[in-house]
Amino acid sequence: MFPEVLPEISDSDLEHFFQIMLSQYGMDFRGYATSSLKRRLGTVIKRYGLTGMAVLNQRLVTNPDYIDYFINEITVSTTELFRDPSAWIALRSQGLPLVQHRPQLRIWHVGASTGEEVLSMAILLKETGLYEKAEIFATDIDRRSLEQARRAVYPLRVYKGYEQNFIQVFPHLSLEKYAHVEVNQVFFDPSLLDRVRFLQHNIVTEGTFGEFEVILCRNLLIYFTPALQNQVVTRLVDSLTEGGLLMIGTKESLFWCESARRLSPVNEVERIYRKRSSP
């Protein structure tokens, strides 16, 4: 066995894992896509030097303090400032104009991770003069990522990529308007978060908590099976006001989602949709 090989996870160990998470922590992983879930679990087992999935299961049973670290390890927190710049350009030019006349803009970032998407939205709203009527909710299952999101401080190595994305969306601005570098960290302007609330929330088990003009749920659905995608998207569409916007990841598809019938495309390529009016 080579050291890099991820441990094999049997169906019964996985079934046991589902039971522990459900009964002890109220978290439901049964609808997660199997290959990436097994990969994440395998990575955790390896990183902690455990001998296999049975040991990890045991640790989850006996050591509840470990859960925040565990959730942080198995959730994928990859995100960027203005990830997929063309999607943000489309949101600005085609999406926001459809809702900007409303008295308030309630915005929900589902799976906000370490907060870069929230900062992108806040910058976009500031630049379009909409920030003052916005109320932004940023939720994630992963408490530790949300802590970083609240601080809005990132390692210096991400700066160059973020700046490249930023310049594509705002060719006439400099990212220095909203962020500054100190020693080896990037600090974002804290006022970007004035109208943001961060909440730990599990979209799979907890449902929705309000009505929104805009919902962003990007690169979260990819970790779910088609059946769970359908459930979650239904929940999101239910949470949109009529004419409200839904933006998903550019390689995500609503093909398996019945509730997609209640949406019409604003920009199909960039995966921006609008909730149809009820008949």
Partner: protein, 204 residues
């Protein structure tokens, strides 16, 4: 034979787990041999190819457009949860890992790069083995890093046919060398033998 006669008489493509997956991994120096191979690819509605070729992030060149596939093969960059259908060439989209799910579709992930690569050949091939896909084969070509070595090894361990390009035939030998340092595949090949290998493996 007229076009519509052909489509009516051709057997319908297989779907999901009935499809034979032909996985091709490569990096720098692999694109041209792969393109040449695909130009003359005989149509097999029971086979789907999955290409995992590293390229620059934000590359404007779409591999799907650059490939000239003979009719009726189709090249696509799959969205998440795309059902695997024979007669297709699936190309791992840039900046996502591509994985095969045992339910018969492809899924995407944005988790960390592996060997600085996203998509990673290791991640794709490992998922094929994990999904216990009924029929699959793996091929590894030229490249400048060691992604793919472990994935190919895992495919061989899982009982799939594996073939690695001869390092001296590869434009950049690092990738095939890394695989050969780890295990001996069923075949070593030169790029002009790809078609022969493909046809041979189909009859296995």
């Amino acid at each position: 034979m007229k076009w519509n006669e052909f489509t009516e008489s051709a057997p319908p493509p297989k779907q999901g787990r009935e499809v034979l997956l032909w996985i091709i991994g490569g990096s720098a120096g692999s694109f041209n041999p792969v393109r040449t191979f695909l130009q003359n690819l005989p149509y097999h509605p029971e086979v789907a190819l999955i290409l995992c070729l590293h390229r620059l992030r934000n590359s404007r060149l779409s591999i799907a457009d650059a490939l000239k596939l003979p009719f009726p093969w189709q090249a696509i960059e799959p969205d998440d949860k795309t059902t695997i259908v024979g007669g297709h060439v699936y190309i791992a989209p840039p900046d996502y890992h591509l994985l095969v799910e045992e339910e018969g579709y492809l899924s995407l992930s944005v988790e960390e790069p592996v060997h600085f690569s996203r998509p990673s050949i290791d991640v794709l091939m490992e998922s094929v083995a994990q999904a216990r896909w009924p029929r699959a084969a793996g091929m590894l070509l030229s490249g400048a890093n060691r992604d793919g070595a472990l994935g190919m090894y895992m495919m061989k361990q899982a009982g799939y046919f594996t073939a690695v390009q001869e390092p001296q035939d590869a434009e950049i030998p690092t990738m095939p060398e890394a695989a050969l340092a780890l295990f001996e595949p069923h075949r070593r090949f030169r790029s002009d033998q790809m078609m022969e290998l493909f046809l041979q493996a189909l009859s296995l």
